[in-house]
């Protein structure tokens, strides 16, 4: 392989003039067949219609993205719930390191977003905001891809962006998250 690196390869005299090989590419790949299951199929199909579909457990908690079962009770979640496209940042990470296959300009922010009406935060990108302005409690809304590009993937939501609402109060999220608690006057 052509290289301008200083050669570290010791060649015997018989190989004089042969271009030294310094490195080798050994890509590995794994092919997956993934069965989404009933709950995630409802969620993914909802995305194709511009809806965010969670699942309600018998105990009242709402999960999105749903895994089909309630981890508290160990029972299936069977009741689909359409959720708001607005939510609250519960945690975030500013990515400053460029890595292979990233497809994003650094720095950018990955955030956990608790959608109004949900009890489980969703991880997604935050855009249209300086990374230094991102904070816990920030109110955000989903920005969807164009209708022509929509599909059964969370990438149908291009990213979340601040929606201008006042911050949610920072406290432990309870049933159905922060915004509903605020609405309840707590």
């Amino acid at each position: 392989m052509a290289t301008s690196e200083k050669s570290t390869v010791t060649l015997p005299a018989s190989l004089e003039g042969v271009e030294p090989v310094q490195s080798v590419r050994t890509p590995a790949s794994l092919d997956y067949t993934f069965t989404a299951g009933q709950a995630q199929s409802r969620f993914l199909r909802g995305l194709t219609e511009g809806k965010i579909i969670g699942e309600k457990a018998p105990g009242g908690k709402v999960y999105v993205p749903a895994r089909g079962a309630d981890p508290d009770l160990g029972v299936p979640t069977t009741e689909p719930v359409e959720l708001s496209h607005k939510g609250t940042v519960t945690s975030f990470c500013i990515v400053n390191v460029q890595f292979y296959g990233q497809g994003m300009q650094v720095p950018y922010t990955s955030a956990l977003i608790l959608l109004d009406g949900s009890d489980l935060p969703l991880m997604h990108l935050l855009q249209e905001v300086e990374v230094s302005d991102v904070h816990i409690g920030m109110r955000v809304e989903a920005v969807w891809v164009d209708d022509a590009d929509i599909g059964p993937t969370l990438e149908s939501i291009r990213y979340f962006r601040p929606n201008g609402e006042p911050d949610a109060e920072v406290h432990q999220p309870g049933e159905h998250g922060w915004a509903d608690e605020e609405a309840a006057g707590r």
Binding site: P12, V21, R25, P27, L30, A36, P152
Partner: protein
Amino acid sequence: MTEVVQATIQFPYKRSLGPVVGAFMTALTDRRIIGIRSGDRVIAPPLEWDPDTAEELAHDFVDVGPAGTVESWSWVASPTTQHPLDVPFAFALVKLDGADTSMLHAVDAGSVDAMRTGMRVVPRWRAEREGHINDLECFVPEAAS
């Protein structure tokens, strides 16, 4: 109703070879196979360190093969996309002429009936070589070459 998602995850590994394996790969680009002297033995493919004493070996390379003898083998009846050949083949330990150790590679013998321990094999080289173990596409029975 559920649906199935097909996905592929890829890891684009690149690793540096160092002075000894680098020389081995370089030799492959020239359609040659080299080993390294370790005391009275010749180790092929070459190692950077003496497997008995863990001492660093001097870079004293020797040409080996290109023909060799199958010391052991295992037939792969149904190759997957990850295998070096897309037809049934044998993974074999081949002791190259002049070497005291054997190297693992594929043998394209056409049929399991053509395989036997002790058979003589020679390399089949790729027309385009880039410094990779697959530059040596596989070994083939000497008589068939």
